[in-house]
Symmetry: C2
Subunit: 765 residues, 2 copies
């Protein structure tokens, strides 16, 4: 089992993340936790004002990336990494009073409190500053990034003089001069600054990729003051000097509009001007805040999870949902993927991985269908890049990159970039899953079909016949278990490919039957030939799936059963995580697996496998899985729920909702584990809720952890919003919105309406 | 079969490499061919004087290296590459007459001829220079690097005015300012220059590694002249202006002493001074040349191979032998390995690989035992580095680096650096082989034993038990066939490890019996325990060697027989070499092998395998080997000779002796394929000569290619020099020097004396 130690940084509260004691050494962890984002712009919870202690000032804009090159390697091996570059610090602020500059690294302060309000999506921070000369000011900062306007960030400061009158200087604006931390380099070149409108602008461009970001801001102050402009090479700010009376409260509201452009063009400034006019002309800080708060209010009605008598998990799961909805919203005009860390840090370079479809997509499918669709649209728009990548790999069709920002491969490690086929099959699985949950045939046909055809082509060209067994399979691959590589007939890879072929054939049939014109258009466009589809059927039928006939255990890959065994319990604690403590190659020569592969298939295509098969494989692989991916334990927990291993299920769940809140993996300082936050949601809905969504209608089979008095979750399904409440006696289901839908609960079909249905909770196996 | 196209750059001649027409576009190829070296200093055949065309001015000194770093990777994966750095150009010369500077890229010239005299080890070049103003000078350059004094290079120029009297200016000296080509960087910092003695000196140091090279030269001129010194930042030369009469011949002789030091110290200049005094005080150019020529004369008496009626192979094999003897001589005080390209270029960075023991060592064992011993001593002296490397890989004992200059791992590709165990087992094999051929127990016991113990320890700690088959083997390795990686129970790796364990146990027994004191000393020093040795015996006994019982074919690795088959003949010619034309990962998923592995074992341990096994495995693997290593065809040729496949044997031999001379691999411009030159020698001696040296006494079983009237080769064995002449009727053997020795010919034992033994040539199978 897993044994992780967490730390408590914030107060437990059902709807808020509260920091009451500022501890410098935890700065970066809390910056990650206090990230605000709308999926387009993301900003870590760093301090607004000067802070000379350890801090990671990071704001990231989806799709605005730079790149670095390594020395060229072998053919087909990428040598270029793209990364979402540290962008404008729109919170840039300096506060000076009594000849002292406020800096919590040196200044005296009291009554410090920082609160992220999950219900309203607003981060505030307040404290009393005691200057060395004896003045006291109460300061309150507020920030949010609009969930209704992709390019809008809002920043507010309130200052109250507690004991005497005097002068206070506030400088606030926008600063592009921060370094991208990982490469310790600033990648911006100044383009222009302007102060001619009723707002202030600064435009910069990235050095290699020529991406442009223009940050514009407008300030409202509650009291007249002396004003000026402060400029740096890549910085512009307004300087305000206030005469402040005792107990007077001064308010500074700043609306920032960040517009990004893919390349330099002559109309840049006029386009930026239009976008600014639209916001600054019509929206005040207060209106933007109202809209934002209404968004969150409505959103929580449709997505909230309640957990009775478990306040830690209650806070944890709401934090997960909040951060997931913040990390990717589907509203922005730019089509991007979702970064492994959202927009909360620089590790993984803001790149998307296969987690998008396998872990994040299910969450969005049942909470924010626009976001789900956007994720798949990203794959559609980047199909040309995937086709190009297939060519680089001497393959046909489309090979989706293991890590990407703009659809090209951004991973320079060949063992991942070249050997992992799982993004391509995950995209196909995502289309399948999207279709089941939404019934959106239009999207499936118009955008999905082409992807499916191209992925099948890639799989066909990569697939080979075993010389001895005469079956089809994939040779020299790495599956999702990254502790084995260059293996043959990997179960996950073979199985997912088989399902991809089968689903594609089904979609083609359905499309032909329902819209022959579109079918003809697509087959013409893709030059699809009949015998291609016949070959796919043949490959799917003769795919090598290795199963031990006695034990029913699927061999993870050809030869896996002969790999040397290691008792995971014998690995000393100081060698964990082993991917950091063992020599790289040593990881690959045991039956130890990093994360589930066979078991993951048994969740994704649950109905394909018998209970006995699931049990046999769980019993076998559970002993061999060291869970060195934060995506791993939830899958085991979900399977354990199904198999009646309730203690194990809870044990694996234990760290899920608070993985980042309690920093179990010791690297929350680098950013949030966005895809793992999704896994926490899966763990409740698919695990305890027993949801399976690989067949129509979807199924529920709830159980309840012993220490919970009840829990509830809400899902969007086929246009309806359903609320499911589970207590130790009953499962209560009703529809909150939309049309009636069918649902299976414990293998019996129900029609869900506004009227509550009460079904007795299934007894423990 | 292999189909390579060669080009002819030089005239065919039994003892000389002759270039008669200078073609600028072949400059670098000929620079490689005309390399002169003594194993310590190596200099490409670049022009002495200014040449503004494409040229690679490169001089390399063994052990004098620089390093570059890549970004840190995983644990145990090196990120530092060392390379033998481009050193002092000791031929630096400028010639000016009639206001024109000689430069064959622009100047007019005729009667050009460059000759490498293999018999004497001297490179000359001559031509007539027609200045634009109408003068004609005959110029003749001569160079050699002393085979008797490791630090001495000799350079001579003769100038004859053909038609009028006038002035000619010659500048000649030493220049450290050339760039290391591969990294396009000069790595030298000037330390000092001096002109105070009767010789001129310049000292430089490398930037990162602080290696010091001091080049000193002394000039003798045949006629008085005006003299001066020309200096640059990293250059010093003598300027001489001669008044030359019509038909007068001027001679300039330059002796250069290059001394290198591992690190800066106060006594550097005085140590250098002593070494210079020794040479300059006692040795003139002429004496040095006499010594050098005598060396080659004696050497050829002991190592020459004659081939009757095949002048191309005659020239080819002598070129191979000459370059091999030049590349590594065993005389230098510095203990270094042999670079894959000797000292003739920068590709492979001057690093040593496993070829040292498997390909080069047999050549030196039978031609220059000092060099052979030095190769193994290099491994003894770098044992601490190999022990350190084992630790980095979480292993015990010693893990020899796949690529190295100073004994540390210099390969940054983990798949090679971490997965290839074959250097360690090659070192053990080298000790075994050395012992069989030399009977040098002293060396074996005093230096070999420790290496063997440490290699066995590494192998034991790397070895694992198969969970299903219950046998020992190596998991996650790459064998010598680099078209398969991360494989389990690789035949070559398992077999070589088994033999290493067995030989080590044998040596320990022998040592204990013969010198118990030393035995106790070594076991104490290495802390050897009795049960360690018992475990090695057990592992060797239960090593997993997978053989198909019906076909007798050894499976190259577990699962190899199920790999998809590819008919090599179906690969289009424009895809060859596939390692350059295929996506990197694609290479690894077929039954196609890059170079022999199973078959190589059958040569190294010939007597372990039956004729039937050899035939079955040859027939099987020959169809699957694409020979994308220049080391590959000779091994197949040698086996084909044994199996009676004479046509195949010759077909594979066809390119061996002239691989570089005719530039079959299209990359001779980068330097010579030193280890492949060794393979050419193996091809004749082990192939046609049928020598096998894995048992005592060694065996011969000669055959003769159809188009050869006779061939002869000479070997040193157990202290004797033997000459073997093979003609279509007989094998004639006699001893040229040393004590009588036993030899098996066609499985019958003979004692070889001064008296010729004539044995009828075995009939073709």
């Amino acid at each position: 089992m897993i044994n992780k130690k967490g730390s408590r940084y914030v107060k437990v509260d059902p709807w808020r993340i509260i920091e009451e004691n500022f501890d410098k050494s935890n700065m970066r962890i809390l910056e990650s936790l206090f990230t605000v984002s709308n999926g387009y712009i993301g900003t870590r919870g760093y301090f607004d004002e000067l802070y000379t202690g350890d801090t990671h000032i990071g704001t990231y804009v989806a799709g605005v990336f730079e790149e670095v090159y390594e020395k060229p390697s072998y053919k087909g091996v990428p040598n270029r990494t793209q990364f979402v570059v540290n962008n404008a610090n729109w919170l840039y602020t300096r506060i000076i009073a009594d000849g002292e500059e406020l800096d919590l690294n040196h200044s005296n302060f009291s009554e410090y409190k920082r609160v992220l309000d999950l219900k309203r999506g607003i981060l505030t921070r307040e404290f009393i500053w005691h200057t060395k000369k004896g003045s006291s000011f109460k300061l309150k900062f507020e920030r949010f990034i609009s969930m209704t306007k992709s390019n809008v960030c809002c920043h507010k400061m309130e200052i109250t003089s507690l004991d005497k009158s005097g002068k206070i200087k506030i400088i606030t604006g926008v600063d592009f001069s921060h370094k991208h931390r990982i490469y310790d380099t600033n990648y911006w070149e100044g383009l222009f600054k302007s102060n001619e409108n009723d707002y202030i602008s600064i435009g910069c461009k990235t050095i290699k990729t020529n991406k442009i970001s223009i940050a514009n801001f407008k300030i409202e102050v509650s009291k007249a003051c002396a004003q000026g402009i402060v400029e740096g090479e890549k910085k512009i700010a307004k300087e305000m000097v206030f005469d402040i009376e005792e107990n007077e409260n001064i308010e500074i509201k700043k609306v920032v509009v960040i517009n990004s452009f893919d390349r330099l063009n002559e109309n840049l400034q006029s386009e930026n001007g239009k976008l600014c006019q639209y916001i600054f002309g019509q929206y005040s800080y207060s209106i933007l805040k109202q809209e934002h708060e209404r968004f969150w209010e409505r959103m929580w009605e449709e997505v909230d999870i309640e957990i009775g008598q478990d306040s830690e998990n209650q806070q944890g799961i709401r934090f997960c949902i909040f951060q997931m909805l913040q990390a990717y919203s589907g509203m922005q005009d730019v089509v991007t993927g979702i970064g492994a860390k959202g927009l909360s840090g620089e590790v993984y370079n803001g790149n998307s991985f296969w987690d998008s479809e396998v872990y994040c997509l299910p969450f969005y499918l049942f909470t924010n269908i626009d976001a789900a669709k956007k994720l798949l649209e990203f794959r559609y728009f980047t199909l040309p890049q995937a086709q190009q990548r297939a060519k680089e790999l001497d393959l046909k069709g489309a090979f989706y990159p293991i890590a990407t920002i703009d659809g090209t491969e951004s991973c320079t490690l060949w063992q991942h970039a070249n050997l992992q086929l799982q993004v391509s099959t995950a995209v196909a699985y995502g289309l399948y899953h999207y279709y089941i949950v939404t019934k959106d045939e239009k999207f499936l046909f118009e955008k999905g079909t082409e992807i499916l055809i191209e992925v099948c082509r890639m799989l066909e060209s990569r697939c080979q016949l075993g010389q001895k067994d005469g079956k089809y399979g994939f040779f020299g691959v790495m599956g999702p278990d990254e502790f084995h590589m260059m293996v043959n007939n990997d179960f996950y890879t073979n199985y997912m490919a088989k399902k991809t072929f089968e689903f594609t054939i089904e979609v083609l049939k359905l499309l032909k039957a329902k819209d022959e014109k579109l079918y003809n258009e697509i087959t013409r466009k893709t030059k699809l030939e009949r015998n291609e589809v016949e070959r796919w059927a043949d490959i799917a039928k003769n795919m090598n799936i290795i199963q031990d006939p006695q034990s029913k255990v699927f061999e993870q890959h050809e030869g896996y059963f002969n790999l040397p065994h290691i008792e995971l319990s014998t690995i000393p604690e100081d060698q964990i995580p082993i991917y950091k403590n063992w020599a790289y190659d040593r990881i690959f020569r045991y039956d130890m697996i990093k994360q589930p592969a066979v078991l993951l298939c048994m969740l994704l295509y649950s109905s394909d496998f018998t209970f006995e098969e699931k049990k046999a494989n769980y019993d076998y692989y559970d002993l061999r899985c060291i869970h060195e991916s934060s995506l791993s334990p939830s899958i085991h927990s979900i399977l354990a729920c199904e198999l009646g291993y309730y203690d194990k299920a809870y044990e694996y769940f234990k760290y899920a909702t608070r993985l980042d809140l309690d920093n179990y993996n010791r690297n929350t300082d680098e950013g949030l584990h966005i895809t793992s936050l999704a896994a926490a949601w899966l763990n409740i809905v698919y695990g305890f809720g027993g949801m399976r969504s690989d067949t129509v209608p979807i199924k529920l089979a709830p159980i309840i952890p012993e220490n919970w008095s009840y829990y509830s979750f809400r899902i969007k399904y086929n246009g309806a919003v359903l609320k499911i409440v589970v207590d130790p006696q009953n499962v209560t289901i009703k529809k909150l919105k939309g049309a009636d839908v069918e649902l299976m609960v414990y293998d019996k079909t129900y029609t869900i309406t506004e009227d509550e249905i009460k079904i007795p909770l299934q007894q423990r196996r």
